[in-house]
Amino acid sequence: MSLEVRGLHAGYGRLAVLHGIDLSAGEGELVAVIGANGAGKTTLLRALSGLLPVTAGTVHLAGTDVTGYGPEKLARTGLAHVPENRLVFPSLSVADNLVLGGYTRRRGPASARAEARDRAMALFPRLEPRLEQAAGTLSGGEQQMLAIARGLMAQPRVLVLDEPSVGLAPRLVGEIFSALGQLRDDGLTLVVVEQNARAAFAVADRVSVMDRGRVVLEGDPAALSTDPRVSGGFLGGGFAADADADAAPAAEAPGGTPVVPRSGSGATRATERT
């Protein structure tokens, strides 16, 4: 199922945060969205999953206009959102968290629910022995796995994730991202918001860079990872701070976040929209 976002505007009350976002993810594609703190990444995902009203622009899922759908309807249509900070249900068991993840499919066939659960367990075998444990007692990494597994229980065709790697040890980050890669290979469409550009670039098919509510660059990860504007300004130095990152000289003054018009970034627009 493809995801197509056109000219999306959204914000909080009178505060406009997103100023015309274009983003597309084809079926079975993993798109990473990176950007500094406050760039509007979380706001974008909230608007996509219906938590925030879209004030202008459109969202299409597999060609169907789903703009203005609420979270429940979007979940039933096939979009699941794994939120920032995991937000597992702490006093409920891991098993109950998973059951609630499939809430919109509760009247669907039991076989489909069992299959979704088996796939989630296969992806994160660490959860299996902890099914009866209260979710709040899981480690941070396990909670992240549970949050993703809970999202998968909705049997989505498009999965959007908000900073799945935040606060995790490098080995766990690897584990989570290889799971995401596996989901992509199974045909799921993924949009992953990340600050950990290194991890995101390693698995992404395409990357969009956000700054102050706009997509300022997009292209394939290989081209973008050496782009001085990425390592320099847009991540607030996050990418360059990685010890073994390509230390491309920052073209712009450090600290300053130059807004480069998207039309001016032709060189990095390596992939055509579909």
Binding site: S49, L51, P71, E72, A75, R76, A80, H81, P83, L87, V88, F89, P90, S91, L92, D96, V99, L100, G101, G102, Y103, T104, R106, A134, G136, R150, A154
Partner: protein, 289 residues
């Protein structure tokens, strides 16, 4: 010794009524952060509806069912008219709104049923005496039915998908919305539960404690104190809080002074709020309902 047993028994049946009212507070507060000051009025209204239905010739059981169903309906209508339309509900706003509903219900009851306190016909009249402790059959009914209702509510939250979805709303409203649970539906269901348990408390208590248009005030306060003893977010805590309050009240009335009876609730409330705001039966702050 006989005195003590007698007081304990009376305290437990009184406490069971508080426990049911307390469950109503917990059911609503966990889902939406609303403190429902009309919770006591649910009980009073159910008592009065049942009394007048019996008075107009309905069999007792039918009158009780009518009372519980109509009060549950009142609770649901209250949610739709007063709670649902508010965009940004805070606990303070909820206090003001539900105080308004409470006052309105009281005025309505005074208008319709008059100022006198009356008692509903007991389910089984009379009583008996064991080892010097006199027991009314109605008190046994209170304990039995309150026990069954509490267990049923507990089972609902712990074992059913609908109950778990309400707990999910209470713990992580954003994540609950993302998995497709409707917060507005959850709030409605929480009022349905609160109306039902409040009404059951009202019809159970009426034969012994009598009902008037204003009896919801004390019952509501006692129920609120019981719920707070349990941390306001736990059904188990609410039940234990209700029983503890009932027993302490009758012991105080029996051994110290009847006049101090109603002071016990406030003393307990102050002690708990100062010493253990999470409730004395609270597990962790996270373990809700």
């Amino acid at each position: 010794m006989t005195d003590l047993l007698q007081l304990l028994f009376a305290g437990l049946s009184q406490g069971a009524v508080y426990a049911l009212v307390a469950i109503g507070f917990v059911a609503i507060f966990t889902v939406s952060g609303v403190i429902n000051l009309a919770q006591g009025e649910f009980a009073a209204l159910a008592g009065l509806v049942a009394i007048s239905a019996v008075g107009s010739g309905l069999p007792l059981l039918a009158a009780v069912v009518l009372a519980v169903v109509s009060v549950a309906l009142v609770a649901v209508i209250m949610e739709r008219l007063v709670i649902f339309p508010v965009k940004r509900m805070t606990t303070l706003v909820s206090l003001i709104l539900t105080l308004g509903v409470s006052t309105g219900l009281k005025a309505l009851m005074l208008l319709v049923y008059g100022p006198n306190a009356e008692g509903l016909t007991p389910l089984t009249p009379g009583g008996f005496s064991v080892a010097g402790v006199s027991i009314r059959y109605q008190e046994l009914w209170i304990l039995l039915i309150a026990g069954i209702v509490s267990l049923a509510v507990y089972w609902f939250y712990e074992r059913t998908l609908a109950g778990k979805s309400l707990r999910a709303c209470a713990e992580q409203p954003v994540a609950a919305r993302l998995v497709g649970i409707s917060l507005t539906k959850a709030s409605l269901i929480s009022f349905l539960i609160a109306g039902t348990v409040g009404a059951i408390a009202g019809v159970l208590a009426s034969p012994i404690f009598f009902t008037s248009w204003e009896s919801g005030l004390t019952l509501g306060l006692k129920g609120f104190v019981a719920a707070t003893l349990g941390g306001l977010i736990s059904v188990r805590g609410a039940v234990l809080g209700g029983l503890l309050l009932g027993v302490l009240e009758t012991l105080t009335a029996g051994y110290i002074s009847t006049g101090l009876r109603d002071a016990v609730a406030f003393l307990l409330l102050i002690i708990v709020l100062v010493a253990r705001p999470a409730g004395i039966f609270g597990r962790s702050a996270e373990a809700r309902v």
